[in-house]
């Protein structure tokens, strides 16, 4: 996994709550058997009209947000389907950080497993950031996982909390499977302990 330590990037505001994974990557793109190449389909139905033209009113189609790598959104981001394709599509598009008041559980795990940092901030700070991103041209944020801080150069600064295990995995780009396989003897011991459950 690609490690995450610090990142500075352009911020795209997407002021909607409960953005579900069906919106992040619609079902017609789940039939592929690869992990890559989903970025062009990110938010497909919101990004393009029925005949495939970019919708001018969608944030990612607006020139000032070109190259955005930080997304700000409403609460309950990533709810619904467990499709990891949502995390793949966000990463593949170029997002490294999603900032929202809350995230759905399965999506949060998927994001973590793909080096995508999720930052939870209170609603009030989110609405400040949404305003800044909407009004200040080329608005950028600096996100540090080392310091657990988000800041801009306009005076905004906030600390965030993150699960320590997740933080370590992200900082070091650790692969969870590798970690688990080190516990092989415990797994084997567990299996022999439950052998009596083989009814």
């Amino acid at each position: 996994m690609r490690p995450f330590r610090e990142h500075t990037g352009i911020v795209a505001p997407l002021d909607r709550s409960s953005i579900d994974t069906d919106q992040i990557i619609p079902k017609q793109f789940l039939k592929r058997i690869e992990r890559t190449g989903y970025g062009e389909f990110l938010f497909f139905d919101w990004r393009y009209t029925g005949d495939g033209k970019p919708r001018a009113d969608f944030v990612l189609n607006q020139p000032q947000f070109a190259g955005a790598s930080i997304l700000i959104a409403g609460k309950n981001f990533g709810c619904g389907s467990s499709r990891e394709h949502a995390a793949w599509a966000l990463s593949d598009y170029g997002f490294r950080v999603i900032i929202a008041p809350s995230f759905a559980d399965i999506f949060a795990t998927n994001a973590g497993n793909n080096g995508l940092l999720l930052v939870r901030l209170p609603e009030q700070q989110i609405s400040t950031l949404l305003d800044h991103a909407g009004q200040i041209p080329c608005y950028k944020l600096h996100v540090s996982l080392l310091d657990k801080r988000v800041q801009d150069d306009q005076g905004f600064g906030a600390r965030f909390d993150i699960d320590e295990f997740r933080r370590t995995c992200l900082l070091e780009g650790l692969d969870e499977i590798g970690l688990t396989l080190k516990h092989e003897s415990e797994v084997a011991a567990y299996e022999s302990r439950i052998a009596n459950r083989a009814w």
Partner: protein, 472 residues
């Protein structure tokens, strides 16, 4: 001894390794696999030269992509066909049992697990699918996972988990006539919202839950994820044991299993982090009006007005949903006409759902404007229904009778809504475009879907006039 909840018992019984920071490595007893979320996981095993640690605890089927028409071996979409072919190859290469398209036991993964007797009390069950919560109906700890986690479980039979908080939802009293398990689920989500249980594992309790059949319990647990819950579960009882006994993969030494299963209940003094109480008698048949399952009103209700929303966020969300759904505030739900009706999905395509629906449509005919389909959850459900003659009732009433699969629940197969079409659906998600781009989904119970198919608009089933079976 410390009093424990059912969830805590299941959790503790599966800890392989406990980290001091609270994270645990849990052992997984059953891993269900389907074609959409597994190809990249198997590919990961190949790249890292790993094998499936316990193929005997891993079971696969094809459900999301499969057509539901006769002769469905021929999949015209080459990418879907490739995904199914990939699962076949992976199951073959890694020694995993597959219930393929031509198997008499194929079906939606959350329908066949219980049907085969694989789903059992006390197990940890995962699948790369959010509706894995369904299996919690048996007193199992069951939850959906992403593809990286699928790979993790394939390789190690374990998963790292942070312990969720516990919530009990107590549904007391008795369900009134016309309200179903689906209405319990919709009523709960309407009350707590589509993120009301995020971070929690729910245990459903109370007289109305106890009174449900296993089919009904599965419907309730299925929709736990629509409230954001990590898992939903119901303590096993006689209803559960009766359902599991005698099934193909049920324990050979059933009595021994039973002795363990009977301990799987929350202790009287156990404490939950949150409690919600619902009076079943106050539940009604519900219809969703918006674009998430929390946007729901009773059939007697009206489309809400964004201007009476409690907050600015809610106002914009409501206005946006109404625009997508093409609905005007104040419209009576019963006045909303439908174009399509879908009876199916892992929420509501079990035999009991089909029986209740067939009884209602008997002697009637689908409204001329409406196209209605019934998609059994599995081949076993389909055969059971056919042996009871339900398919004849549906066909005579003008319903399309299909082969089993996910079908129009998510439209990854040819069953999709056209832009602008409005559908009464027994599935679990009314997200924008879920059933087809521009399609408008209203979630309802199976009887409510059937009634809408006949009248052409949402109809309160409590007023339904059933027709008697006609002789011959």
């Amino acid at each position: 001894m410390l009093a424990k909840t059912l969830f805590e018992k299941l959790w503790e019984q599966h800890i392989v390794h406990q980290d001091p920071d609270g994270r645990a490595l849990l052992y997984i007893d059953l891993h269900l696999v389907h074609e959409v979320t597994s190809p990249q996981a198997f590919e990961g095993l190949r790249l890292n030269n790993l094998r499936v640690r316990r193929p005997d605890l891993t079971i696969a089927t094809v459900d999301h992509n499969v057509p539901t028409t006769p002769n469905r071996h021929i999949i015209s979409d080459p990418i879907a066909a490739q995904q199914i072919e990939t699962l076949r190859r992976n199951c073959h290469d890694f020694g995993v049992q597959l219930f393929d398209i031509d198997s008499s036991e194929q079906g939606i993964v959350h329908v066949i697990g219980p049907e085969l007797g694989l789903t059992q009390p006390g197990k940890t069950i995962v699948c790369g699918d959010s509706h894995t919560s369904t299996h919690g109906a048996f007193g199992a700890l069951a939850f959906g996972i992403g593809t990286s986690e699928v790979e993790h479980v394939l390789a190690s039979q374990c998963l790292w988990q942070k312990k969720p908080k516990t919530m009990q939802i107590v549904v007391d009293g008795a369900l009134p006539l016309g309200a179903t398990a689906k209405d319990i689920a919709l009523g709960i989500i309407g009350r707590i919202g589509s993120d009301g249980a995020t971070g929690y594992a729910i245990e459903y309790r109370g007289a109305a839950i106890r009174a449900l059949s296993m089919e009904g319990r599965m419907t309730v647990c299925n929709m736990s994820i629509e409230a954001g819950a990590r898992a939903g579960m119901i303590a096993p009882d006689e209803t559960t044991f009766r359902y599991v006994r005698g099934r193909r993969f049920a324990p050979k030494n059933f009595e021994k299993a039973l002795a363990h299963w009977q301990t799987l209940q929350s202790d009287d003094a156990a404490r939950f982090d949150a409690t919600i109480r619902i009076d079943a008698a106050a539940l009604e048949p519900y219809v969703t009006w918006g674009t998430n399952p929390g946007m729901v009103v009773p059939i007697t209700g009206r489309v809400p007005d964004p201007n009476s929303a409690a907050s600015e966020t809610e106002r914009t969300a409501t206005a946006r949903a109404l625009e997508y759904m093409d609905l005007k505030p104040g419209t009576a739900m019963e006045d909303i006409a439908v174009d399509r009706v879908f009876i199916g999905s892992c929420t509501n395509a079990r035999i009991e759902d089909l029986r209740a629906t067939a009884e209602l449509v008997r002697g009637y005919h689908v409204h001329p404007r409406v196209r209605a389909m019934v998609v059994p959850g599995s081949q076993q459900v389909k055969h059971a229904a056919e042996s009871e003659g339900l398919d004849r009732i549906f066909r005579a009433a003008g319903f399309d009778w299909r082969e089993s699969g996910c079908s129009m629940c998510l439209g990854m197969n040819p069953d999709i809504l056209q832009p602008g079409e409005r559908c009464a659906s027994t599935s679990n998600r009314n997200f924008e475009g879920r059933q087809g781009r521009g399609g408008r989904t209203h979630l309802v119970s199976p009887p409510m879907a059937a009634a809408a198919a006949i009248t052409g608009h949402f109809t309160d089933v409590r007023k339904w006039r059933f027709k008697e079976a006609q002789s011959a």
